[in-house]
């Protein structure tokens, strides 16, 4: 764990340089981003969604370091920029252990840093990333938990509790987050993985909601993890700082959740890659995070399986893996929905590009991460099976680039009109939490196609 600097962060959040919101974006963030893209010669190449240019990866890292040190993070409640200096960043990077034990008992897992083209398998977190019907929460959670490659699980998000619509910051949220935490714990026990690393609870948007579920008996344990988000872009508020302070002292793993927007304030692929690396430095120094969950997404499509998105995902992980020991899961956001071949090709491409570049996996949010119940474990399984396979066979970035190009050819023309697919309850037998035969057949067909492209699945 990096040095504990919570009090210093608290002080800087109140005493750092004064800055208004608009000035932060227009006078500091955007000009500095333009500056570092030019200074370090960062250039997107559409022909290589998985680039193999070590020097470019290192320049992305250097650009991100300079950008982060000069821009800092704006606390929108105090209008102060939280700044970190170079020696503090180096200190934090030096102390980052690069490996953690997570989960408990027989379900404990070692999570270790991976290298570019590294043979260590990725740490895989299975997560639907969407909301679900209240009655679907338990079977959906069990379906994800029983996936053999799942080193950790994050459950769907509840919209209702006891039939009441959950509203953040109200008693309905307090009720909903407890229901979420207890039911997920129950699902893990039922599935025979009681100590599984659970990242929870997504239903809690507020700080009070997160604090309410910290309980080693029935809720989120200190051997579990929490995600704490950041505001777009490079902004934070006191509520997020409250969550960090609580999780630090409770003792659970902290995951900094960042989603730089392609086409947003950082501009195109180059700036989005730099910003997402910079977010990992925010996670390390300001969030005191054990890990990052990174979901850069396209402004128009809310996905990251397109060509330019895969390039920046790959670039980001190469930069991080070559220059730090930071742990990071690559969170797939896919265009098509469950029960379609397209979503499986997308998942494979995202898993492949991420793992060959040094990333771990957090899979997957289908259907633009938009529709209730529209996610199943099979999309995540595809990404993670591909990720394990390519690590095991020692696939190079050049080989990966060829295969990703073949996969893109199957879907990239349909990103704007991707099929919505079917909800969980039509793709799975809800009673047994097992996939329907037709979807399993589709999965096997697509897996065979990907194997023919050169991915050596162990089974």
């Amino acid at each position: 764990m990096p040095p504990y600097k919570m009090w210093e962060i608290m002080e800087r959040a109140n005493t750092g340089p004064f800055c208004e919101d608009d000035d932060f974006l227009y006078k500091i963030f955007m000009p500095k981003m333009k500056d570092v893209i030019e200074k370090y010669g960062i250039k997107y190449d559409p022909d290589t969604p998985v680039p193999a240019d070590d020097d470019l990866a290192d320049r992305v890292w250097q650009a991100a370091v300079e950008f982060f040190l000069e821009v800092g993070v704006l606390n929108v409640d105090t209008h102060r920029r939280i700044m970190v200096d170079e020696s503090e960043l180096k200190e934090a990077l030096y102390h980052a252990p690069g490996r953690y034990l997570v989960g408990a008992g027989k379900d404990t897992r070692l999570w270790e840093q991976r290298g570019v083209e590294g043979a260590k398998p990725p740490f895989c977190i299975f997560s639907p990333d969407i909301t679900c019907d209240e009655e679907m929460f338990l079977p959906m959670s069990i379906a994800y938990i029983q996936e053999p490659l799942a080193d950790g699980v994050c459950a769907p998000i509840l919209e209702e509790s006891m039939g009441l619509k959950i509203k953040s910051g109200t008693p309905t949220e307090m009720a909903g987050v407890v229901e979420h935490a207890m039911t997920l714990r129950q699902a893990a026990k039922l599935a025979g993985r009681p100590g599984l690393f659970l990242v929870a609870v997504g239903t809690a948007q507020s700080d009070t909601g997160q604090i309410a579920v910290s309980n080693d008996e029935w809720g989120v344990r200190h051997t579990d993890g929490r995600l704490i988000g950041i505001l777009t872009e490079l902004k934070i508020d006191n509520e997020l700082l409250n969550k960090i302070a609580h999780c630090m002292q409770f003792g659970c793993s902290i995951g900094c959740l960042s989603g730089a927007i392609y086409g947003g304030y950082a501009g195109r692929a180059e700036g989005t890659a730099i910003l997402e690396v910079a977010y990992h430095l925010v996670g390390l120094t300001i969030y005191q995070a054990n890990f990052q969950n990174s979901f850069p997404f396209h402004l128009h499509f809310t996905s990251n399986s397109g060509r330019e998105m895969l390039w920046l995902v790959s670039m980001k992980y190469q930069a991080l893996s070559r220059n730090s020991r930071l742990l990071s899961t690559s969170n797939g956001f896919l265009n098509a929905g469950p029960g379609t071949e397209m979503v499986l090709y997308e998942a494979a491409a995202h898993g492949l590009a991420s793992v060959v570049s040094g990333g771990h996996l957090w899979e997957a949010a289908p259907t633009h991460n938009k529709y209730r119940n529209y996610a199943t474990p099979l999309e995540a399984r595809m990404a993670c099976e591909v990720g394990h396979a390519v690590a095991r066979q020692g696939m190079t970035r050049a080989q990966a680039n060829e295969i990703v190009n073949q996969l893109l050819a199957k879907y990239e023309d349909h990103i704007a009109d991707a099929p919505k697919g079917k909800p969980f309850q039509e793709c799975y037998d809800v009673r047994t939490a097992r996939p329907s035969p037709w979807y399993l057949d589709m999965y096997k067909k697509v897996k065979d196609e990907i194997a023919a492209m050169g991915v050596e699945f162990p089974y």
Partner: protein, 215 residues
């Protein structure tokens, strides 16, 4: 007309200083202010279209919008003198609902609305539902726009509709909802008037709504 083309180009490129200086020269040359505004409006519509086609992205659009606003401030004395004052397309009160700090989607909609000539009152993020209603009443708005990025903050959108009904003013406003988790079904369930599926669609809908209201 070369001067107007130069002005529009400067605005589209986000060159604020050059745009303001060129606008001053255009006035000095005697170009009527309504012609200048017409050219600028067409130029900004093109910027909006290029954004929708993904030829440009947020930084370029925001800089163009800032340049446009600077030029409009420069032209304000001439607009005041003009015999045919420019008419706002409509008045919009917009914000992100309570408990939700996400602003980028709302900010894109605001930028697109402003460049199309709407009068926009931005309430910011984490806005209580009643504050939407109060502001709309205060500024005699035509439209209320509410954004939510989290499923657990979406109920704040429905509350706006409920408060409008409680106060007996529901029919005065067109209510449009947007944000990543918002769907057509949710909009219908809330009893809102339209779904801003994305920023471009939202602006198209509101332009159509205001055109119908003026008929």
């Amino acid at each position: 007309m070369a001067m107007l083309e130069k002005l529009v180009e400067a605005v589209q490129e986000g060159e604020e200083r050059e745009a303001v200086a060129t606008a001053g020269k255009a006035i000095q040359e005697g170009i009527p202010v309504d012609e200048i505004i017409e050219a600028l409006t067409a130029g900004m519509r093109e910027i909006g279209d290029r954004f929708a086609r993904m030829e440009i992205f947020l930084p370029e659009m925001m800089l163009a919008a800032q340049a446009m606003q600077a030029v409009m401030r420069e032209l304000e004395p001439e607009i005041q003198k003009s015999a045919t004052p420019t008419e706002k397309k409509g008045t919009v009160v917009i914000g992100t609902v309570e408990g939700d700090m996400h602003e980028i989607g709302k900010d894109i909609v605001i930028t697109l609305l402003q460049v199309q000539g709407f009068d926009v009152h931005d309430l910011g993020a984490d806005v209580n539902a009643l504050d939407f209603v109060r502001k709309a009443e205060e500024v005699h708005a035509d439209i209320i726009g509410a954004s939510a990025l989290m499923s657990t903050t979406m109920p704040g959108q429905r509350e706006i509709i409920e408060f409008l009904k409680e106060k007996g003013v529901r029919e005065k406003y067109h209510v449009i909802l947007g944000g990543a988790p918002v769907t057509r079904e949710w909009v219908k369930e809330c009893g809102a008037d339209s779904w801003g599926e994305n920023a471009g669609v939202a602006v198209e809908i509101l332009e159509r709504v205001m055109a119908e209201r003026r008929m």
